[in-house]
């Protein structure tokens, strides 16, 4: 088990290193730089960045300085916002985490029970209805749902706002918009996993022994049946985090997604690199947590 986790940890580090390297060189492949933009880098920002990243040197040299500074915790200055990248991250990172976690919670709270119930009532009206809703959830993306929610729900309920991120009530609509699609995927995967387990011999044996329906589900079926759903939580979170770019645009949430999209358009090298680093760390951490949970649930993986 320790070997698997260590293996995954190393893989996560490789993923982040690849991601940062790709970002570093890709953003510099775009014609022009922060200086040629109409909103040019101010002299002060340039001086600061120059001092730590040696912007006048060749790209490979800048790349080496980038890593050196990263280990020293130095991420540079945003050329557009004229603020240290670390300060922007301190402000927007908690917002993105709250949005991501709330979205994931909604996905889990809706998706997994729906999948379990659909599997238990296989081929019934409940099953068909739930699976049709799940298909709708997959096919109607956040940028269709979000504006519709804002128009038809936010204007009706007094404490909900169309946009903004002031009090916890403002978390509700963006989180639902973000989580519903993932809930739909989770419901389908949970249902398939449960059906798979429920059709196996040991469930029939338990039934023959006279174990109650609830006992079968709770003691025997859930543990195996939920494995595919938990395996999906890692990729699902990556999808949620990048899906938040859209949700943040719709509801004007001051998270990292906005900064990422704008930094790409503005060629704001340092802000972009900072955002990608944080997104990468978030995704790798959640994947790791899901892997640990999986090895714990699935004895076959543990003995490897």
């Amino acid at each position: 088990m320790l070997k698997t986790i260590l293996d995954r940890l190393i893989q996560g580090v490789v993923v982040i290193a690849c991601l940062l390297t790709l970002t570093f060189f890709l953003i510099r492949l775009i014609p022009g730089d922060p200086l040629t933009d109409e909103k040019a880098m101010s002299a002060q920002v340039r001086k600061q960045n120059m001092k730590i990243f040696h912007l006048d040197k060749s790209q490979p040299v800048q790349y080496v300085y980038y890593w050196k500074n990263l280990f020293a915790g130095e991420m540079g200055m945003s050329s557009k916002k004229e603020q240290p990248v670390s300060k922007i991250i301190r402000q927007s990172f908690p917002v993105s985490v709250i949005l991501g976690v709330c979205g994931m919670l909604i996905a889990i709270i809706i998706g997994i029970p729906a999948g379990i119930i659909a599997a238990l009532r296989h081929n019934s009206a409940i099953d068909n209805g739930a699976m049709f809703l799940a298909m709708l959830g997959i096919s109607i993306p956040a940028f269709v749902l979000g504006p519709l929610f804002a128009k038809f729900i936010a204007t009706q309920i007094p404490f909900l706002k169309v946009a903004g991120w002031g009090d916890p009530f403002d978390w509700i609509l963006p989180s639902i918009t973000l989580g519903l699609g993932t809930a739909a995927y989770l419901a389908r995967i949970t249902r398939a996993g449960m059906l798979d387990v429920l059709s196996q011999d040991f469930i029939r044996t338990a039934k023959a022994k006279g174990v109650s329906q609830n006992g079968i589900i709770i003691k025997h079926a859930l543990k195996g049946g939920l494995v595919p759903a938990i395996a999906y939580v890692g990729p699902a979170f990556a999808m949620l985090i990048t899906g938040s770019f859209v949700v943040e645009t719709i509801f004007q949430v001051p998270g990292m997604g906005q900064h990422f999209v704008n930094a790409t358009k503005d060629r704001d090298y340092f802000l972009l690199q900072g955002m990608v680093l944080l997104f990468g760390i978030l995704i790798v951490m959640v994947n790791l947590a899901a892997d640990i949970l999986l090895t714990y649930l699935n004895p076959r993986l543990r003995s490897e």
């Binding site: 993306p141 804002a150 990422f260 790409t264 997104f279």
Partner: protein, 310 residues
């Protein structure tokens, strides 16, 4: 003498598909959507999607404009159809690219096996960990700005403005999505090849002295068409969604080109006062994705009865 005609996998699958009502309706719906998106705008029945008429902006639906007009007075119906062309085209071309890469990569990895397989799949593991949307945004901006820089040269070389527009504005998106979206296909094909290559008919092919290329591409791959077709059908809606997401964020298709993503973005801006601008494209977009997903599910049940959970 009359020979009994056997049932092929495909005729069986067709029968099973016909029984699945949702999938069958979806199939006809998709044929209909493709037909009106690609044929109708070429006929004089539909106005040009680019005719701006500011005096007539936000017109209500009428005989002249069946769905009304948008903020610039353009006919909404023809914009939905034209945007559909772009969205569907990007989805199809990107899927084609990803299938070519994914199938060859997965097939080679599974067929070679051993160390090569381990290394190739390790690479896919790492690529899989990279956030798809972040890389798609970065790559598409790099490719499209580079293409734009060479726009005058291309125009001089090719002459046709429509063709250059396609290369500069649409093709970069297809390339990016296709080049970054093949991992799942590679995994699917690899695992299928791994189990297929142990079958006796492959052993027979080896003992007959066929070349590896022949065995892999002529003997093994045709037997994997089922899973490949199923996964292809499920990939197309995903990629259409990616294109729309990018266009919604303002980093995909650029105006005056239109796509469903752009129309949804613009519609969201006017939803307070003119909800129809948001609602019409939303419906068409959602119905198309829904039909593609239902068809994909139906095809999986039809072609691979073992995998279906019914």
């Amino acid at each position: 003498m009359k020979t009994e005609k056997g049932n092929s996998l495909w005729s069986d699958a067709w029968l099973r598909l016909k029984k699945n009502r949702m999938a069958f309706i979806s199939l006809w719906l998709l044929i209909f959507i493709f037909a009106i998106c690609f044929i109708l705008p070429a006929t004089p029945l539909i106005k040009s999607a680019r005719d701006i008429d500011l005096a007539n902006s936000f017109a209500a639906p009428s005989a002249q404009h069946l769905l009304g007009t948008d903020q610039l007075g353009r006919d909404l119906l023809s914009r939905v159809l034209n945007g559909g062309q772009v969205s569907l085209l990007v989805g199809l071309i990107a899927t084609l690219i990803s299938i070519i890469i994914g199938v060859s990569y997965g097939a080679i990895s599974g067929y070679k096996g051993g160390k090569i397989d381990t290394v190739l799949m390790r690479i896919v593991d790492v690529l899989y960990g990279l956030p798809f949307l972040i890389l798609v945004i970065l790559f598409s901006i790099v490719i499209s700005t580079t293409a734009k820089k060479h726009e005058p040269d291309l125009l001089g070389f090719l002459g046709s403005e429509a063709l250059v527009n396609l290369i500069v504005n649409i093709l970069p998106l297809c390339l990016t999505i296709g080049f970054l979206g093949w991992y799942t296909m590679a995994r699917v094909v690899r695992s299928q090849v791994l189990s297929t290559k142990k079958l006796e008919y492959v052993e027979a092919a080896v003992s007959l002295g066929l070349t590896h290329k022949n065995i892999l591409f002529k003997q093994i791959l045709p037997n994997l068409l089922g899973p490949i077709i199923v996964y292809t059908t499920l990939t197309i809606p995903g990629f259409i969604l990616t294109e729309a997401t990018l266009s919604f964020l303002g980093v995909g298709v650029q105006p005056p080109n239109s796509s469903w993503g752009i129309m949804l973005n613009e519609g969201a801006n006017y939803m307070e006062t003119k909800p129809l601008l948001l609602i019409f494209p939303s419906i068409v977009f959602a119905v198309t994705l829904l039909a593609l997903n239902f068809l994909g599910d139906g095809l999986r049940d039809a072609l691979d009865p073992k995998a279906s959970k019914d």
